[in-house]
């Protein structure tokens, strides 16, 4: 994994790998309360450092609050390099909406636009935010799950009712289900939703897991224990699935 792809990792990450056990097996969250007083040091709290991180924080807030924008980001990240007309067609967006979103993503530094070719090519580095004390984990898989609310009424229903935090817990529970490590009723009880709602959301999140497992370089951060154990459809069986851009030269 290149250092470039980690450019959004400036949040506290130092001892993260030792904290996998804070992800409860059920997909829920164990809060560390309170964080140690030295969780942030003087260096982290330098006004200059905080100012640098501010734009990244705003970037993430922007994506979380605008699932349609996140959807375009995730598409470019997984399917890129890709030209705007292809984005427009694949996501069924109007031309003006597509260019508006691409412009915003470029302004946010999330998408790179190569104007030297015609048509211009878009690419996006995968991003990751991990904050162990809340905890928060945001990777392309998580953003994909949020973005699915744009096209999947089960996911939009779930988010309306329970919010995005619980959707991320459900995503973790769904991964454990597809790995055979939990039942859907256990997911329901762990994240405190109705049994039938848990069943509904587990299957609705399947596309985010199926793509993420193959194309999200940070998939293991969310599923350190079961990332290679999930029984999901292989992408080669699915029409229009992203290919590995390193393997194909279009």
């Amino acid at each position: 994994m290149s250092v470039d792809s980690l450019k959004y990792m400036d949040f506290e990450l130092k001892s993260m790998t030792s904290d996998y056990d804070q992800l409860r097996s059920d997909g829920g969250i164990r809060t560390l309360d309170p964080p140690p007083i030295d969780a942030l040091d003087e260096e982290t709290l330098e006004p200059e450092t905080l100012a640098q991180n501010a734009s990244r924080l705003e970037t993430i807030v922007e994506l979380l609050n605008h699932p349609a924008l996140a959807r375009v980001y995730v598409y470019v990240c997984y399917w890129g390099p890709v030209a705007p007309p292809a984005v427009m067609e694949a996501l069924d967006l109007s031309k003006s909406t597509t260019y508006e979103y691409v412009d915003r993503l470029v302004d946010l530094g999330l998408v790179d636009r190569d104007d030297s070719t015609r048509p211009q090519q878009l690419t996006a580095d995968p991003i990751i935010i991990v904050e162990q004390y809340i905890p928060i984990v945001i990777t392309p898989t998580v953003l994909h799950a949020l973005a699915l609310q744009e096209i999947d009424e089960d996911i939009s229903y779930f988010i309306d009712r329970y919010g995005i935090g619980k959707l991320i817990a459900a995503l973790r529970g769904a991964g454990l289900h597809f790995a055979g490590e939990t039942t859907q009723r256990m997911v329901a009880s762990d994240i405190d939703v109705r049994e039938t709602e848990a069943m509904m959301i587990v299957y609705a999140l399947e596309p985010a897991l199926a793509v993420g497992r193959e194309h999200d370089p940070f998939f293991e951060y969310l599923f350190p224990d079961v990332h290679d154990e999930m029984e999901l459809p292989g992408l080669d069986e699915i029409a229009g699935a992203p290919t590995n851009s390193a393997d194909t030269d279009e």
């Binding site: 097996s25 997984y78 996501l91 096209i151 055979g180 009723r185 256990m186 039938t196 069943m199 199926a210």
Partner: protein, 176 residues
């Protein structure tokens, strides 16, 4: 395609609620494949009241659609009281606990009771064979272990969704 489903008219098919979610909405190709498999086999999916609970939430509309279409029905399965059936639920609970690395008391009662319901069903109604469909792997293993150790492996067969409609069902998945 061209693959036969293991369902046949002489079987009683007990389904867990998750099957109705695994197949997606009625517009989903997987839903249609499953419905076709059930209808072609001439069976009606029996959904024990105990495993579906109240059909109240908005998300239960797809279960109601199957009931309205007539290829599924809710049955009042007798709670396990027969010795074999009670033991089956206990075995299923132990299996699920072990598969999910949890304490036995953390296993959801409804996951464990499916095995007991199946055996009680056999005791009460003496069907030639019973098929139990659930899309939860630990639960499937629990029912299989229970049926085997109680001597019902000839009568009770356990399947997941892929056994009925094949595992190439992901070809219809919308990714983004």
């Amino acid at each position: 395609m061209g693959r036969g489903t293991p369902l046949s008219p002489d079987q009683d098919v007990l389904v867990d609620a998750n099957i109705f979610y695994a197949i997606g909405r009625p517009s989903n190709p997987q839903y249609r494949r499953f419905r076709t498999a059930v209808q072609n086999a001439g069976v009606v999916c029996k959904l024990p009241q105990r495993v579906i609970g109240e059909l109240g939430g908005q998300e239960t509309d797809r279960v109601r659609t199957a009931l309205d279409d007539g290829w599924a029905e809710i049955i009042e399965a007798t709670p396990p009281t027969d010795g074999d059936a009670v033991a089956a639920s206990d075995i299923a609970r132990r299996t699920i606990a072990s598969e999910t690395n949890r304490a036995e008391h953390e296993v959801e009662k409804t996951d464990a009771i499916l095995a007991g319901l199946a055996i009680q069903y056999v005791r009460d109604r003496s069907p030639s064979t019973v098929v139990v469909l659930t899309d939860d792997k630990p639960a499937r293993k629990g029912i299989k272990n229970a049926a085997q150790s109680q001597g019902y492996e000839e009568t009770i067969t356990v399947y997941g969704l892929a056994d009925i409609i094949g595992d190439d069902a992901g070809d219809s998945m919308r990714l983004i």
